[in-house]
């Protein structure tokens, strides 16, 4: 008996799963090791080793879908012309590409950004902040991505 689905329709269905999930299923996709992630963080801070503190990263403890995980990252620091937060980098160690986003600030408003990110699997997400004095600060949050949330 012929399949009720045409190949074209099946192709469409296969293409539909959210990209974040497909990341987890992509064969041969290299996952960054912790050491590589540390190195990536160091490159982003221009060699300054991040200390724990100052950075706040809000993420759900459990994400139903890795395709859309809301985050808010902020730094407890003034935004004065001579003393401010220059950048915040968001990294997801176990994504095929650990670098998620880099936000560059000027001394205005406050050092806070919200958005949505993709997680290929349960993992630790890290936010690294670089201040105008050259110091770097970081925090990490563990996020569990629900099994089956990828439709796999």
């Amino acid at each position: 008996m012929p399949s009720p689905q045409s190949p074209r329709r099946r192709a469409l269905i296969l293409a539909l799963p959210a990209a974040g999930c497909a990341l987890a299923l992509a064969p041969g996709a290299a996952l960054a090791s912790r050491a590589e992630a540390d190195e990536a963080a160091l490159r982003l801070t221009g060699g300054a080793r991040p200390k724990d503190g100052k950075v706040r990263l809000k993420l759900p403890e459990i994400a139903d879908s890795g395709a859309t995980v809301p985050f808010t990252v902020s730094v407890d620091h003034p935004m004065a012309p001579d003393n401010y937060v220059k950048a915040i980098h968001v990294l997801a160690h176990d994504n095929p590409a650990p670098q998620v986003a880099s936000f560059h600030f000027t001394p205005t408003g406050k050092a806070e950004v919200s958005g949505r990110l993709r997680l290929a699997r349960s993992q630790e997400v890290r936010a690294v902040a670089l201040l105008s004095d050259g110091s770097a600060w970081e925090t990490r949050r563990e996020v569990k991505v629900t099994v089956g949330g990828c439709g796999g």
């Binding site: 990209a19 406050k110 958005g115």
Partner: protein
């Protein structure tokens, strides 16, 4: 053609910190996915977002494939002066999507 949207208070007191919400409809194709024939779908994402007040860049975001489809960002600026707020989204394919809205500071 993606349609960007922004939301922020039209008027603000001088020195007030205002919230800016932005959104653009875009697949953010990661470059990791394959179609049913095993052919890699080429990466196509919004890789950069910029916000400028009166021609001066106040906030920039470099985005990678780890950012979800239809990327939305919320951030904050100080209402230091009146002027246009210009928003730019840069696509991997070279397209630029822009939006300009006035901010009035009292």
């Amino acid at each position: 053609m993606p349609t960007p949207k922004v939301k922020f208070p039209e008027t603000a007191a001088r020195g007030e910190i205002i919230e800016i919400k932005t959104l653009i409809d875009h697949d953010m194709e990661s470059g990791q996915r394959k179609d049913m024939n095993g052919v890699l779908l080429p990466r196509r994402i919004i890789n950069r977002f910029t916000c400028a007040l009166n021609g001066k860049v106040v906030f920039t975001a470099e985005l990678h494939p780890g950012i979800s489809a239809n990327p939305g960002l919320t951030f904050y600026i100080t209402a230091s002066e009146s002027g246009p707020l210009d928003f730019t989204w840069e696509d991997d394919d070279g397209s630029r999507y822009t939006l300009s809205r006035p901010l009035t500071v009292k």
